[in-house]
Symmetry: C2
Subunit: 377 residues, 2 copies
Amino acid sequence: VAVNWPQGFAGAGAGCGIKPAGDDLAVLVADVPVAWAGTFTRNAAAAASVHWCRDHLGGRVKAIVCNSGNANACTGAEGEAAVHQVAASAAAALDCEPDAILVASTGTIGIQLPTDLIITALPSLVANVVPAVDDFARAIMTTDTKPKIATAGAGDATIVGVAKGAAMLAPNMATMLAFITTDARVDDLHGALSTAVSLSFDRISVDACESTNDSVFLLAGGQVPVSTKDFIAALTEVCKSLAEQMVRDAEGGSKFVRIEVSGANDEPAAVTLGKAIAASDLWRTAVNGSDPNWGRILSAMGSADRSLDLGKTSISIGAELVFDRGQPCGSLEAARKIMEADDFTVTCVVGTGSGEAEILTSDLSTDYVTLNATGTT
Amino acid sequence: VAVNWPQGFAGAGAGCGIKPAGDDLAVLVADVPVAWAGTFTRNAAAAASVHWCRDHLGGRVKAIVCNSGNANACTGAEGEAAVHQVAASAAAALDCEPDAILVASTGTIGIQLPTDLIITALPSLVANVVPAVDDFARAIMTTDTKPKIATAGAGDATIVGVAKGAAMLAPNMATMLAFITTDARVDDLHGALSTAVSLSFDRISVDACESTNDSVFLLAGGQVPVSTKDFIAALTEVCKSLAEQMVRDAEGGSKFVRIEVSGANDEPAAVTLGKAIAASDLWRTAVNGSDPNWGRILSAMGSADRSLDLGKTSISIGAELVFDRGQPCGSLEAARKIMEADDFTVTCVVGTGSGEAEILTSDLSTDYVTLNATGTT
């Protein structure tokens, strides 16, 4: 089923030559400048496009230009100037101020952005925007194997999100771009986005590498009044779906693992433990080989929380309890069979506290190594 | 050249059947109970042997029993009892108190230690100790491909260290066991070891996974008076050599990378940045493929230090400057050629502070994934 942007938005995608082949330029256009919120990487090596967008928080936005194939990060003054040029070019094509244009980039770090290619392609791209999200969703992909789209209703309003992920996926926002649009009228757009991101994109990890370009945009047309509570719930649903799609399409990943931590003192403690497991190369290689090496789960948690009490800690792989409050137990063979599925859950109970969290991750495969071992030259 | 233990020490290694094949049991015996110091993993899931040794800090030691093939970690009360049994058995064979026996284990987590195999083998092992370190050094290996031995002189005293590494190698001590012996008389053995470890084993990372069994033992016979300064320098030399040998023999590793960070505000800040680079799966895969993707270095540092100033940061791969205070520069092709060597240095200058540190790491290879993807069942 074709998904359309909400009323008031349209998009397009095309190839402009940044990547050797395939689409690499996308635009999302609002009928009129709209309110927006954004969350961005906290990486000190953040891309020029992130600097530009951060500087424009609080304004209104007419369009977002997104390119793949080049991150425009660590590119110095020339990189900052490139963003201005792209924004000015889009503004001219759309008859608005450059300050109403946001820019997002994803791709290789440290290479100057070929702005001429983008500027040449922009006029026809913005002239040919369509209601369907598909072309946009495909044009922002890097090593993603499929487009990532999610929708939800909030009262009478609609939320439509599109994202790209693949690798450099880590907590504090994955290496990812997400473009979320709604026709809703929301009082605290930033607060809503911040809540939704903290429960979704901040709870996935592929390689624990935080990117220089992570950006989540939320654009709200404002035609349809909604309750804040309904809106946050629906927005969180969209963000969680996009986050899960990213992990399921992780670079080189062959398995999807849901890590459920409970019994922690508080929620942040549960998140810390879950992320530690998700960041363990040793556990993730074991997942790759369906090896029920649950000691690597305990070792990862014990390294992240020096006060972890093994006597109050239990671990299950699927329904198989393999470690019960300090004692190994269960059947490794049964656990292996569970891990042979493409998708399984690890449950860690670490005490009797009320803190719980779910973290999503994938396996570490030889394909991940091969995919990332070359490419810059 | 055969290396011998210092005067007053002897060792032996043999196979007792814990591993399917090869040596897996080693003893290091002192002529008389001697002073010792130890540093151990801070992992909350620390092995039973680590608990035992920590409890015996401050005493004197007659012998250390070390097994490979089984970590005896996360094995509950049965695992704790196993350590007592091994210590009692060695004490009986050596005619000393069990409290004068230290125990170290390395191998798979969560499997009960087959103490019967160890207890059966111990009497003949302790009866056949020899001055040469080689058999001991081979018996403690797991996936190590070669024994790790280092020596240094401190005045008239000798220091001899033996270690095992391979993987689960991370800051806060690698997955590693090191047994260091000396005939020196040292006032503050703990202080000397702590200093040496912080400058060596704490500055290497293979997979950023901290182990449950990391232990460094320093046994001092006390016959030869030395200056504290000379002793610490020589001990640090031994520890740095063993640490470097571990990284050069890292599981699946094909390259050795020296990361030199300078210009940080202080030494801990430089260590943090170096470790962040060493922990980046993306940078380590790029090393594997000789891909000069220096953006992954900046991204790792920018994630570890939110206040990193790119305008004051420069990166060189070997002698090739690729990022100069905010600007990409140099030749990626030249950088690639440098990375094609088995061994190269990455230099990061991050400001004008006096903090500097050197961190050692390896690449992330498909072999690492394959080696760690199976094994428990």
